[in-house]
Every structure is written in C-alpha cells, then in structure tokens.
Amino acid sequence: MAKHFLEIPGESIFPLDAKEEILEECESFWKQMEQCQSTLKLLETETLTESDAQFSLPVMQMKALRAEYNQWQKRSPEIISTNPDVLFALGKKELQKVKNDLEMVLSTVQSKNKNLEEELRREQQWYEEQKQLVDTLSRTEEETKNEVEQLSDKSLNTSAFHEQRKKILKLKRYKKELLTALGKFLEEHFPLPEEAGSAEKKNSYEDPAVELKPLHDILEILIRKLMSTPHEPYVPIDDSFWPPYIELLLRYGIALRHPENPCRIRLEAFHA
C-alpha cells in the first residue's frame, strides 16, 4: 500500500514509448488499488463507544502494526523503470529539489551570520562606552580624594570650622530661650477658657466636643506650615481653634484670612 505514484513532469519532449510505459504502469497500479479498496470495503469496521475504544483500539493497532511489519519484511527494493528518459527526468527533479533546499539553508545561515555580526558590533560599542565611563568616574574620584586631603591638611580651616560650630550652638540656645519665653508668656496671658462647671452649660450645644488647642500650638502650626510650604501657607480652621483667639490674631495682623475662603488662615510673612 505504500507504493507511490510517479509524477511525470509536464514535458512533451519524451519519446512516445517512455510515456506509454509510464501510463501503463499507472493503470496497473490503479487497478491494484481498486481491488484493494473493494476488499477493504467489505472489511469495514463499525464505530466505537468510549469504553470499547479503550480496549479494542490498542488490539487493532497492534494487529495493523504487525501486518505492516510483515509487509516491510517481505518487500525488496524494485527498479522504477529502465527507460533512460524517465530516469533522467526523475534525476533532474531530485537534484532540483536538493538545490532548492541547499539554497534555503544557505540564505538562512547567511542572515544568521549577519545578525550575529550586528550584535557583536553593538556589544563592542557598548563595552567601549562603559570603559570610558569607568575611566572618567575613577578620575573624578581621585580628584575629589585629593581635594579632601588638602582640606583636612590646612589647620586654619579646621579652626574656622570649629568657630562656625560654636556660632551654630549659640544660635540654637538663643532660639530655645526665645521659644520658652514665648511659651510662658502665652500661657500666662492667653490661657484656654475654663470648663464651665454648671450642669446647664453641659447641655448647651456650644459644648466643645473637641479639646481646644492652646494658642502656643496654633502659632506653632501656622509657623510650621509657612516654613515648610511657603507656596501653600494656608491652614484650615477647625473646631479646636478657639474663635476669640483667631479674632485676636487677625485683628493684630499676625494672621491673615484666605481671600476667597474664610475658613483658612495663614501667618503673616514677617521675615520676607
């Protein structure tokens, strides 16, 4: 069953007898096949359910394989045709096929080579750049190291450094003194309102639900906001700011309201 049909290339330069010979062969093959097919038709099997298939298919396969094996054992190589024209045509075809395959392989290998060369070139370029980078960086490192050494050598600079440090400490101390003085002053003169002890005050809706912040804290918030985000110095007023103190700050120009939103205030920029 594994015989193959000869493919005759469509050339009419063949002498008549070669063509006839091939056609006769084809006819005989076709007759053989018709016979085989009619026998097979009678041997046709039925369909399988899944459970049948599990058991009967492997058995069928084994039988078929064994039959095939026997067929191969019995077979011996046969000459296709002794006609020189036929052989010539077939040979030409085979060689053509081989030539095409080799050409394909050649072009594939060539394009692969080109790709590899490109990659190699790119990698080399990258490597050069990286080397340059390393050189520059190491040079800069050396220079800075030298500078640092020079600096630490000069004794005059160290004493200036110490003087600066002393000044900074003095300023820090002064700042602390000012802040404590401010805190004491505010506590003394601007205390938080006392909690009213009488029961009726407790029921009124004005009972502060939130703990009031001392004035010191309010000022601290304002200063911090101004210093940290000078472009956005506004602080929203919430219930913990006692309204009279807000009015106090506003009246004396220490704080300003936001022009569009009355619920936001900022500290006046005294340092600008």
Partner: protein, 175 residues
C-alpha cells in the same frame, strides 16, 4: 451514510482531503486558509464541519477523507462535548493514525474552562495524537498549518515509506 469510513471511496489522484470538526467556525476558516496558503506539491481539499454525522445528502460529492482533525477550544466546555459526541460517528479503522485532536486557545491560560487532563485522556483512549496551538497568533497559526499539512500528506499516502499508523506512534508522548 452516517458513519465516516476511511476506505469506502477511491482516492482522487494527487489530492489529499482534510476534515476539520469544531464548533468555532471563524477559527476553522482561518486555519483552512493558512493551510491552503502553504507551498505543497499536491492538491488539498479542506472540509469544515461543526459536528458529525455529516449530512448524507451530499455524501456522493465528498471525496475520501484522509485525516480528521477534531478542534477543541479550551475556553469552551461545549466544544469538548461536541467532539465527544462526534467521535461516536467515526469508524474504528479511522483511529489507526487518521485522527488528530487539535486544542486551540491555549494562549489565554486564564480563561481555561476545559480540564487538560480530560483532553489527555481522550487522546489516550482513542490512541490519537493531541496537538496544542493558539490560532489567534499569526506565527503559530502558520506553524500549525504546516504540521497539519505534513500529517495530511502522510495520511493520504503521499510520503513513501511512512504510514499513518507509524507516524501517529511517533507523535505519542511516552508516559
């Protein structure tokens, strides 16, 4: 004739016929077009069906089928049921290498609704090779078309020395 038989008709000269059975018609069309585009030495005729049995009215117009490819979409439970139902209408001698299962949609692992185990079992029970592919991707579609074309040529007997049965053994995974 309701049952599909491999040898009930004479083959057409220099022609191989493929039958694609699957529920997704758009994918079938795309795969068929990809197969037709391939370079080949013989004529190929591709038949598309959503399920078996094929209608018996046009039976005389149909050539002998050399290879049946059952397409299972991994995202669609119905396609597996469809294939299982269609398998009952195929003669036993088809399963000697002339049947193949093609699982599509494997690119989208998240939408898997068919168990891979059941597909492997199906392949084992029916002693047929199982191929996986993702037909939405151009490259894989072309590669699958090439594989199926090669298989079809072997099943039609156009490759001397290799029979459909021995080829199907090559494609089986060894457990």
């Amino acid at each position: 004739m309701a049952v599909l038989r491999p040898f009930d008709k004479l083959p057409v000269l220099n022609t191989a016929s493929l039958l694609l059975v699957g529920s997704d018609q758009r994918l079938q069309q795309e795969l068929a077009q990809a197969i037709v585009k391939e370079k080949k030495s013989s004529n190929i005729s591709i038949h598309l069906a959503t399920s078996l049995p094929l209608s018996s009215e046009r039976d005389h117009l149909r050539p002998r089928i050399d290879l049946i490819v059952f397409m299972i979409d991994i995202k669609n439970k119905y396609s597996l049921k469809n294939v299982k139902a269609s398998l009952a209408h195929v003669a036993a001698s088809f399963f000697l290498g002339k049947v193949c299962f093609l699982v599509t949609g494997v690119g989208r692992v998240n939408y898997c609704s068919v168990e891979i185990n059941s597909i492997w079992k199906l392949g084992e029970v029916y002693c047929s090779p199982v191929l996986f592919c993702e037909l939405e991707l151009e490259g894989i579609r072309v590669a699958t078309a090439q594989r199926l074309l090669r298989m079809l040529q072997i099943c039609a007997g156009h490759v001397p020395g290799v029979s459909a049965l021995s080829f199907s053994f090559l494609l089986r995974s060894s457990n």
